[in-house]
């Protein structure tokens, strides 16, 4: 059963080592840290970390994302290796083979791990990626399964809105992005999460809204539960919609 959930975006720029000498996105990072802190403070048995990726699978607890993929210097010499937090992690035990490589974790889960590591979180983690093209009903099923896996499950959902929110946005401007992201925000803000299940995968793909499957996992995990929420951040400073929220059940 889900005891609490946190929603955070997963831009690599949350990791300060990736953005150079000057501080970037401090407000966003603080909001993410606050939502993760509230989540871990509910003392769940496990944290289920969910993020969209190439394919749907659970990940071995030893899996890490190598941030040197974004900044090669980070991989060499004395620089700290990121995403290798010491917290214990479990696979969900769904029979899949453990990940062969230690550094194969998807980026969104790597950023989630980083947030949990930063919070000093020692709670066992379940790492779940969801394919970018996973059907909404399948996403909801994955959420329901995660919710049922333990008595007290904390859910950390790494999900990003459209990356087409302006002329300087990574995907250039698509006017439909505003409405799409507003729908997502409304669902999260009001706690009426089932509305997330109607987000169209094809439209989300066109809008580069990579968080769509993860939001639908959230909706499935909390289906039928009464949810109140606090939106801690909503903005698109780099042309990508970021939404940070704490969900209380």
């Amino acid at each position: 059963m889900i005891v609490a959930a946190a929603v955070c975006p997963s831009p690599p720029l949350l990791i300060p080592e990736l953005t150079g000498a000057r501080q970037v996105a401090t407000e966003l990072r603080s909001a993410c840290q606050a939502s993760v802190a509230e989540l871990t403070a509910t003392a769940p048995e496990v944290i289920a970390l969910v993020g969209a990726a190439e394919r749907t699978r659970t990940w071995n607890g030893a899996a890490t994302f190598d941030f040197a993929r974004y900044a090669p210097r980070l991989g060499s010499g004395a620089a700290p290796r990121l995403g290798s937090g010491a917290a214990p992690r479990l696979s969900a035990g769904d029979g899949q083979a453990p990940d062969p490589g230690p550094a194969g974790l998807p980026s969104a889960l790597g950023v989630g791990n980083w947030l949990l590591d930063q919070a000093g979180c020692q709670i066992v983690r379940v790492l779940q990626s969801v394919a970018q093209d996973e059907a909404p009903a399948r996403c909801a099923d994955i959420g329901a399964r995660l919710a049922a896996s333990r008595g007290r499950v904390g859910l950390l959902v790494m999900a990003d809105g459209s990356a087409r929110r302006g002329l300087k946005a990574p995907g250039y401007l698509d006017g439909r992005s505003t409405g799409f992201d507003a729908e997502v925000e409304r669902a999260v803000r009001t706690g009426r999460l089932e509305a997330l299940l109607s987000a169209d995968p094809a439209l989300a793909h066109e809008l580069m809204a990579t968080g769509r499957p993860a939001w639908q996992v959230l909706a499935g995990a909390l289906r039928g539960r009464k949810v109140s929420s606090e939106v801690r951040y909503r903005d698109d400073p780099f042309g990508v919609a970021y939404l940070v929220a704490s969900l209380r059940v």
């Binding site: 831009p11 080592e17 150079g20 996105a25 004395a78």
Partner: protein
């Protein structure tokens, strides 16, 4: 992130003595820190913007500006390198010593260099607060090291092909110009150590254009790693010089791009001090080199990371 501790992968590795700490004034600089030495001429007739800082207020204004633009060192000189109107010892002292004292009073921590080949001038400069004697004329005056030692100052040991101060090269040739640079600067550095100059305050300079034609200066630039491999901190003074003008066939006002290209090539090969007219642009070129080498992070990186 511990950028300073990163290995130097990607930089041409010169087999040789590693670069060590450099001390200038009260400061210590690590081997991978790139320093700009800003040129401040107290002359009416230097080659680049002649007379620009001949007046003391203009010269002090220039100091304020170069400090704001990121210079670690100001190099104050009273005699042009080129031949011309004679400037005797008292005149040179009159042009520089008092001004050095004024800069020292305004900037207690700034590294001040005295651009002179004469020990009498160097003595007054050091007494007024100079931290470094920049002798571009290759040790023509053998008494310079004793002055540096006496004041605890640093010394730049350069190669001018044995030419007298303020003379132009005339049909100069070398069997191997870089070998000559290595031999001469090595000899001067050893002599300075012998005279009691702090080894951590000794710098070497191949002295582009001094006793060299354009081919020689290009060769010295191409093979600068051989000089940095000696372990002595290397200063390069290439700003707007004739070898750049001849290489690009451009007049003085159009030599900045060539200067910055040369600066970058020298930095990549391990030079540590860059004597410059254009401080801001030189600082930016060097910051770019430092970031490419991985010695310092970009100021702000968000492209592709949002």
């Amino acid at each position: 992130m511990q950028h300073d501790a990163l290995p130097s992968a990607g930089t041409p590795q010169s087999a040789g003595t590693p670069q060590s700490l450099l001390r200038l004034g009260q400061h210590s600089f690590g081997p991978r820190q790139l320093l700009v030495m800003a040129i401040v001429n107290r002359t009416p007739d230097s080659f680049f913007r002649p007379g620009d800082t001949w007046d003391e207020p203009a010269a002090m204004e220039r100091v304020h500006q170069v400090v704001a633009e990121g210079a670690h060192i100001v190099d104050i000189g009273g005699v042009p390198a080129a031949p011309g109107q004679d400037v005797d010892v008292p005149q040179e002292i009159g042009r520089t010593a008092g001004f050095i004292a004024a800069v020292r009073a305004a900037y207690p921590d700034l590294v001040i260099s005295s651009d002179t080949w004469r020990h009498e001038v160097a003595r007054e400069a050091c007494a007024a607060g100079a931290d470094l004697i920049n002798d571009s004329w290759g040790g023509w005056d053998a008494a310079l090291p004793e002055v540096a030692a006496e004041f605890g100052a640093g010394l730049v040991c350069s190669h001018a092909g044995g030419q007298a101060p303020r003379t132009r090269p005339f049909r100069v040739s070398y069997p191997d110009v870089v070998a000559d640079v290595l031999a001469h600067t090595g000899k001067l550095a050893a002599r300075a150590v012998e005279a009691g100059v702090d080894p951590e305050r000794i710098v070497v300079d191949a002295a582009h254009d001094f006793g060299k034609n354009t081919w020689h200066s290009l060769e010295v630039t191409r093979r600068l790693a051989e000089l940095t491999a000696t372990g002595w901190p290397v200063l390069v003074s290439v700003s707007n010089k004739d070898f750049i003008g001849e290489t690009l066939d451009v007049p003085l006002p159009d030599r900045l791009a060539g200067t910055l290209a040369t600066t970058s090539i020298c930095a990549w090969q391990g030079a540590r001090i860059f004597r410059a007219h254009h401080v801001l642009q030189t600082r930016q070129a060097l910051d770019m080199v430092s970031a490419i080498r991985g010695d310092q992070p970009p100021a702000r990186a968000v492209r592709g990371l949002a």
